[in-house]
Amino acid sequence: MAMPNAELKDNGGGTEPKIGVFVCHCGTNIGGVVDCEKVAKAASTIEGVAVSKDLKYACSDLGQDEIQKAIKEEGLNRIVVASCSPRLHEFTFRNCVEEAGLNPYFMIMVNLREQCSWVHMKEPEDATAKASDLIRMGVERSKLLSSLSPREVAVEPTCLVIGAGIAGIQAALDVAQKGFKTYLVEKEPSIGGHMAQLDKTFPTGDCAICILAPKMVEASRQKNLEILAYSEVVDIDGYVGNFNVKVRMKPRYVDEEKCVGCGVCTEKCPVKVPNEFDVGFGMRKAIYVPFPQAVPLKYTIDAENCRQLQGKKCGACAKACINDAIDYEQQPRDLDLKVGTIIIATGFDTYIPMKKGVYSYWESENVITAMELERLINAAGPTGGHLIRPSDKTEPKRIAFIQCVGSRNHKLGIQHCSRVCCMYAMKNAQIIKEHDPETDIAIYYNDIRAFGKGFEELYHRIRMDYGVEFIRGRPARLTTDPETGNITIRAEETLLAKITERDFDLVVLSVGLLPSQGTMPIQKMLSLPTSPDGFLQELHPKLRPIETAIDGVFICGCAQGPKDIPDSVAQAKATASEASTLMIRSKHVVEPLTASINDELCVGCGLCTDVCPYGAIELQDKDGQIKAVVTEALCHGCGTCAAACPQRAIDQLQFSNRQIMSEISAALSHEKAAGGE
């Protein structure tokens, strides 16, 4: 962000306004509709306007030179640039006037492109009149401007990464390698996330854990990186550079210092429960590590299933442990961290099929989700990679994949495409075919989305080399034979326009990706906006894809939207770079255009705290009276609070109530609008 120096001149304030108006043609974007020359001429007659010119491209070097020349030669102290949206060129023109020796906040922009020429392309005359009106309003507002200086806040050189899937691990590693202290918080007993559960990865077929485990180990060895596994973030406050975070470490009932991960305890434990990591297919003990490559390799007692912790007599693990690491009395511990930047990598949850749904997931044992299949074909899974179907433990010979389950479904309110299901279904089809080429596989799809690098090649390969059948149609009914457990799928093969009924031994639902349960609390703590699909919203879909509305908070991986591993890693690296940039500078410049509260008018009703989308206002006790207080580093100057305040106690700097009123009166004064004409 090209921000001006903190030391700014306060020239022009208080003196008689000498205004320069610059009307930009923007090539034909504005000039093709609005008569810019006429508009500039009309503006020159407004009281206080000393210079009024039309420029071909105001943002070009030539245009900027013209503005700077006018400031120097005519001694202008207010600049109105009538061109495009301030989102595009506000910084350009602020820098331009600053270079000419003026406080940059004495420059305002009037939007003649997005809000005039583009929307009134077919009414050039009216557009010209409107342009004149808009400029007159801008000129009146410019008269009431005051000089402002940006503030600086110190940035704590510490980073918090929430969620330790592949995205979180990568982000944390990158930040730590740049020399910053990094905390990596994960709610599960081990880092690794969903990637650790997968068998192979598309499109290349790399073994997921084989490429993930080295990164997990690296994370545990990296000296700046502290892994806080089996912990949750319970509170965040503060602002960019100065976040105060409370992390709750759940009790493992095992002393992490003493446990060496030998596994003797788990051998002796008498309790067997389904393993969540295997999506319920495999079993684990009440004292466990979720998978052999777990990092940190520390055992955890599952309090709900442990006999001792449930008040029954047991203590088998404590007796077995040679290091005396078992501690049944362990309590949750709270850690208070002060961090400068936060990276959110809270990932996704897979869609859980409906009860009583068409796909009979809950009624039929042989209808499974893709995540369950991943564990069933995984060499480290409960069956050792030997694919069997749940009902009778036989090898399925006919397998169907059903695509778009819990994706692209308006009935469920899930409109988005999950982006990975087409490819993971093909990848799994390939693995199954490699194990047993005699298996018949059909993929019921609506559209195949093979857009990534190497994806189309995999799509081609599984048809050519493996003969996987693609049926274009969304299944309408699944019927299970109660005796054999086989499933008949009725679907229209749309390319034939025929209704087909085919029998399968096993049906795999390619379930979509949804925002994870763990994302919600973090989103609430930080008041982060979400997009309509429920995932966290980036600041700009194209140009600021990993930043959020809160400065110093970045998002990566599936927390931002469904994506595959390479995209998650790329985003993670981007967040690490962005967070590091902020911390290397050690200072963050805060835009001075914030809300300001008049304590004399504020009655402490708290309406502003409710409407603020950034959580920047809170009520505080000031000498026994409750008043609203703005945290300037969090305020984005959106003006929502100023509009909501029933007492008119809040002014949005550069858009104060007086300034807005001056604009309104200018807009309504049509006699003046006639101007020189």
Binding site: V358, C404, R408, N409, H410, K411, N446, D447, R472, G473, R474, P475, A476, R477, R490, A491, E492, E493, T494, A497, I499
Partner: protein, 194 residues
């Protein structure tokens, strides 16, 4: 031809699409607009997944596919939808199952509106309309039905109430005011026997 097809499609054999290439001359670009005008607002949103066909009780029985009909509409192949538009039972199962939350049945209803306005009306529709105008009922039990009822031991049909005639008159007023009779070309006293 199955029984269903006889009842619903008889007299409406559409012009078969025999051409090897369907060119612009066979397409009506404004067809979709017409459909939307008559309430089939979802016609262009359909992604052709075929779920509707799979759940359609009619598609299972005869050579009619909900999805294909929608595709013809999107494409502007008006002639291809002439007869099939009448077989939809408007049970709304397609609407219930559509993953895009669209309503194909509304498109079918719109097609009927268009057909009627172009004078393409199957005999059974005319018969029902005529019954409604002449007797206040779309389906009028004739002798054979009454005999059948008696044979299987069903009670006699309830007699018309005394105010029946006035109800019928109201129906006729509605029909005349809305020009429904002129739209379908009925008088109400046509010979409606099979």
């Amino acid at each position: 031809m199955s029984e269903v097809e006889k009842v619903f499609i008889s007299g409406l054999h559409e012009k078969l699409i025999e051409d090897k290439v369907i060119d612009e001359s066979q397409l009506d670009p404004d067809f979709r607009k017409e459909i939307i005008k008559f309430g089939g607002k979802d016609v262009m949103t359909c992604l052709q997944c075929g779920n509707c066909t799979g759940v359609c009780p009619i598609s299972l029985k005869i050579e009619y596919k909900t999805r294909t009909t929608i595709k013809y509409c999107q494409f502007g192949m008006k002639n291809a939808t002439l007869s099939t538009r009448w077989v939809c039972a408007t049970c709304y199962r397609c609407y219930e199952h559509c993953p895009a939350d669209l309503n194909p049945a509304e498109v079918m209803i719109a097609l009927r509106h268009i057909g009627i306005r172009e004078g393409i009306i199957p005999p059974f529709v005319k018969r029902a309309a005529s019954n409604l105008m002449g007797h206040g009922l779309t389906v009028r039990p004739d002798e054979s039905i009454l005999k059948e009822r008696e044979k299987i031991g069903l009670p006699e049909l309830p007699q018309s109430k005394p105010d029946w005639e006035s109800v019928k008159e109201e129906v006729v007023t509605i029909i005349k005011t809305t020009k429904y009779d002129r739209l379908l070309g009925i008088r109400g006293d046509e010979d409606v026997s099979e």
